[in-house]
């Protein structure tokens, strides 16, 4: 047991992002879908603004717009109205009803309401799922995985739990919330390179990576179509990335008998090796040449970069799964980890044999005194500056950087790019420190 917490009665410069935002994010990876946030207008508007700024894409989300009197009398009346409006105006294939702290604390039975609504409106072909995502528990990561779990539950229910003969050649991919749209695309390509058909749920790579094909739509503009999501029950294997995605994977295993494997991440040499070796064994195909080349390049890059990484210490503040994934490649480069700060506590962190802090960016700042490198979301920028550490933006949200959501951090190539990026920041920092001193050349 190695989880530490700073003693203070408040959160200063929060690292945590609310669960419903994670739920909305997961829904963006499903084509023609619409999440409805069951709460006050602000719950939706804050999340929408933040997601829009991070991804630089329109975000599909609606609200039940609860006001004081609605909460007192019948909040679910608003939900019914919202469902009706969304169905008649947009006719989405998938609707996700996400609860918030407000609806959870007031104790409305929105699940029953949705069931009744489905029955009364005879909506057999629409997938309408509910997910309980109070803000006072968990963080973005848990909200995202809970939403994926709800969607899988909904799909299983619609399939009447029929058992199919599993297709050996087809693989389910459940990417964790920390993977960028570029990462998801990269992992899809990796698995595809071994001859598999990949079904990805949710698939942010085709929705939030940006495209101009469809113009504007109030619903999601890309992602996995519901028909191919239904095919997931017949896949021969499930690959989950991130420990938080184990629950959805286990759901598929329990209901449809699909074996699964969870990877804590695909960043770093060891993790990438593990991933490719696994794919090789599963497919009985050899690792394609281009990945062998990428591995060679990574090894060379690690040797080149070691001088800049020598004696470097870092503070990393991210969501739990992301934290471990980043820590693994930093350790491979010999970086001393001054502080690992996670947004909330998970069983994975508890089982881990190392020191982890659960807290906020202010805690990170305390730990970062004298550190060289700071990795966190955009909110950490000022803190890093105060500490004099080089700042590298990762996680969510990244608002003042172009292309953060399409950058690749996985596989040999992604790892190499991360090592170079952080290394360049360290070089820059060193140059800034030397500025003004005598230069012998």
């Amino acid at each position: 047991m190695t989880i530490h917490r700073m003693k203070k009665p408040l959160s200063c410069n929060p690292l945590k992002i609310s669960q419903p935002l994670g739920g909305i994010l997961a829904m963006q990876g499903i084509f023609r879908s619409m999440p409805i946030l069951h709460g006050a207008q602000g719950c939706t508007s804050f999340a929408k603004t933040l997601l829009t700024r991070h991804f630089r894409e329109p975000i599909a989300v609606q609200t039940t717009a609860l006001q004081e009197m609605d909460v007192i009398f019948d909040a679910d009346l608003n939900l019914e109205k919202a469902l009706e409006t969304v169905l008649t105006k947009h006719r989405p294939d998938v609707i996700g009803v996400l609860s918030t702290a407000l609806t959870e604390a007031s104790g409305t039975d929105y699940g029953a309401k949705v069931k009744k609504f489905k029955r009364e409106h005879n909506l057999k072909n629409h997938l309408i799922v509910t997910s309980s995502l109070p803000d006072f528990r968990g963080s973005l990561e848990s909200g995202y995985s809970a939403m994926v779990e709800s969607i899988i539950d909904g799909l299983l229910e619609q399939s009447n739990r029929k058992t199919y003969k599993l297709l050996k050649n087809q693989i389910n991919l459940l990417p964790g919330s920390f993977l960028t749209a570029g990462d998801v695309m990269e992992i899809k390509e990796m698995i595809g390179a071994f001859g598999f058909d990949v079904i990805t749920l949710p698939d942010l790579s085709t929705s939030l990576a940006g495209h101009l094909m469809t113009g504007f739509s109030p619903m999601t503009r890309g992602g996995i179509p519901i028909d191919s999501a239904r095919q997931m029950m017949r896949s021969g294997y499930t690959i989950a990335i991130g420990a938080s995605m184990e629950r959805p994977a286990r759901r598929l295993h329990n209901a449809a008998g699909i074996p699964y494997r969870v990877f804590s991440g695909v960043s770093g040499l060891a993790s990438s090796d593990e991933f490719f070796y696994f794919l090789q064994n599963l497919s009985r195909e050899t690792v394609p040449l281009r990945y062998r080349w990428q591995r060679e390049s990574l090894l060379d890059c690690m040797l080149d970069a070691q001088f800049n990484y020598a004696g470097i210490s870092a503070v990393v503040a991210l969501e739990p799964d992301h934290l471990l994934s980043v820590a693994s490649w930093l350790e491979e480069m010999g970086v001393e980890l001054r502080g690992l700060v996670a947004s909330y506590e998970t069983t994975l962190l508890e089982e881990l044999n190392r020191d982890v802090w659960v807290g906020d960016l202010d805690d990170a700042e305390q730990l970062a005194q004298g550190a060289d490198l700071w990795i966190s979301n955009s909110h950490g920028k000022r803190g890093a500056k105060r500490c004099g550490a080089a700042f590298m933006a990762m996680g969510f949200p990244i608002v003042d950087e172009l292309g953060a959501y399409t950058s690749v951090t996985v596989g040999y190539r992604g790892t190499m790019e991360q090592i170079n990026k952080a290394g360049n920041l360290l070089i820059q920092r060193e140059e800034n420190a030397h500025e003004g001193s005598v230069c012998h050349r």
Binding site: L10, L21, Q41, A65, Q67, A101, S378
Partner: protein, 456 residues
């Protein structure tokens, strides 16, 4: 001085005797198609720019965690308000009550940062479970000897606009008039509802200084707590653009006898009008003379410097969707540049805002009452508009449809106020419309062009 007569100082005189400005109750948002923020959001917009105060949000993580550090209000001094403080209520706190935690949090902030004031915001959940933040604030204030201001504006009481008003209420009740300012002159004016987005307040302050007026209290862009606490000694109040804080101005007039008027700094005409009006209200001949001088000089300069941009912008059509507050003021700025406003959003405007819009536009424009993005797009198509001017939330809607876009809301990085801002606005409009990427993205890929490959 004709502008003053025309644009409604007489109207304001009539309204002064009344308790509250007349406004229709805000229409209830429709579930499933509502857009826009909540009252908590609104309260933060108004109060967060007070840079040296700590802002503590009493609620679960979403309220502060999803919103801190997202606004473009700048401060050139203390940065305490840029830190995000929240009690981050967990399940345990909600069941057993979070008042004790709140008190401890206030003590912690006072101890570690010793700010002049702490603003404590209630949220939906803390309001629902019946946390008495007023009592906690009172106790903490007595114990710590600093201002602890409760802001009762939980998200579910209504719209963003209501939140602005409730924040104004908190300022009037707990802040304004609590301290005597060290320096008072005859030329002191307050700006109310100016949030120093992208540094607009600095441009305005420069103008005021050039005319011999002194910016007394900045409510609240780049504001300081002590300054606002002494705001009651100013000689005039100006409500900048939004009517949301007019209640505050009315109350200040009643209690402290400070005359007020509503104006804007968008566009040369409005800027000149506002400066003249301020000079008139503080009743100082010398200042009036200097304002006349400045206005003449700046308008001449603008005429000269804007000429090349006017040439490009003349006859261009714009759809404006800003959510009420800025609609009417931005319209005049655009008209001065020769841009025709062919559609305007009125979803959050009050009746008087709409009256002002129609005063400026007449019949030629479409009014987009509500319905969000798709209605805006429809207006753009129907009127063949060249550009959409809206808030960041609608930016990607326009870009996905390949329509040039200009961000006018709080997240933008360019200051548009005053004469200098006018030039920037003209530049940005030209950049937005003339950028070569618009042509590039419209060109299909070679394999989609359909003409056979030419081997030669």
């Amino acid at each position: 001085m004709e502008a003053i007569k025309k644009t409604g100082f007489t109207v304001d005189v009539n309204s002064c005797g009344k308790e509250e400005p007349k406004s229709k109750p805000c229409p209830r948002p429709k579930p499933g198609e509502a857009a826009g923020g909540c009252s908590f959001d609104g309260a933060q917009i108004t109060l967060l720019p007070i840079a040296d105060a700590a802002h503590l949000v009493h609620g679960p993580i979403a309220c502060a965690g999803n919103s801190w550090e997202t606004r473009g209000s700048l401060s050139n001094g203390p940065q305490l308000s840029s830190l995000g403080f929240t009690t981050d209520l967990g399940e345990h706190d909600i069941i057993f009550g979070g008042e004790k935690k709140l008190l401890e949090a206030i003590r912690y902030i006072a101890d570690r940062f010793s700010p002049p004031a702490i603003f404590v915001y209630s949220t939906c959940v803390s309001a629902l479970t019946g946390e008495d933040i007023d009592a906690v604030c009172k106790q903490a204030s007595a114990e710590l000897g600093l201002a602890v201001v409760p802001v009762n504006s939980p998200g579910f009481v209504g719209s963003k606009n209501l939140g602005n008003r409730l924040a104004g209420e908190a300022l009037f009740q707990y802040v304004i008039g609590t301290e005597e300012p060290p320096l008072v002159t005859d030329c002191d004016v307050n700006l109310i509802g100016e949030y120093n987005i992208a540094g607009e307040a600095w441009d305005i302050e420069k103008l005021l200084n050039q005319t011999g007026m002194r910016l007394h209290a900045r409510i609240t862009g780049n504001g300081r707590f002590k300054e606002i606490a002494g705001a009651h000694r100013a000689k005039a109040n100006m409500i900048v653009c939004s009517r949301a804080l007019i209640g505050l101005a009315v109350k200040m007039e009643k209690k402290y006898g400070i005359p007020y008027f509503e104006g804007s700094f968008y566009g040369a005409k409005e800027t000149s009008f506002s400066l003249r009006q301020l000079a008139y209200l503080i009743n100082n001949r010398e200042v009036e003379r200097r304002v006349d001088h400045l206005v003449e000089r700046e308008e001449m300069r603008l005429m000269r410097e804007l000429a090349p941009y006017r040439k490009v912008l003349k006859g261009k059509k714009a759809v404006l969707y800003t959510g009420g507050v800025k609609s009417w003021s931005v319209i005049s700025a655009l008209q001065e540049l020769g841009v025709k406003v062919v559609g305007v959003g009125t979803n959050k405007s009050t009746d008087s805002d709409i009256a002002r819009i129609s005063e400026r536009l007449g019949e030629e424009a479409i009014y987009i009452p509500e319905g969000g993005s798709s209605r805006v797009l429809k207006a753009v198509r129907e009127r063949k508009a060249d550009i959409v001017i809206a808030g960041g939330r609608n930016m990607y809607m326009a870009l996905k449809e390949q329509i040039p876009f200009l961000d006018i809301n709080q997240e933008r990085h360019t200051a548009y106020a005053g004469y200098e801002g006018m030039i920037r606005l003209a530049k940005q409009l030209v950049y937005a419309m003339e950028n070569p990427v618009w042509q590039m993205v419209c060109t299909p890929a070679p394999w989609d062009r359909g003409d056979g490959y030419d081997n030669s």
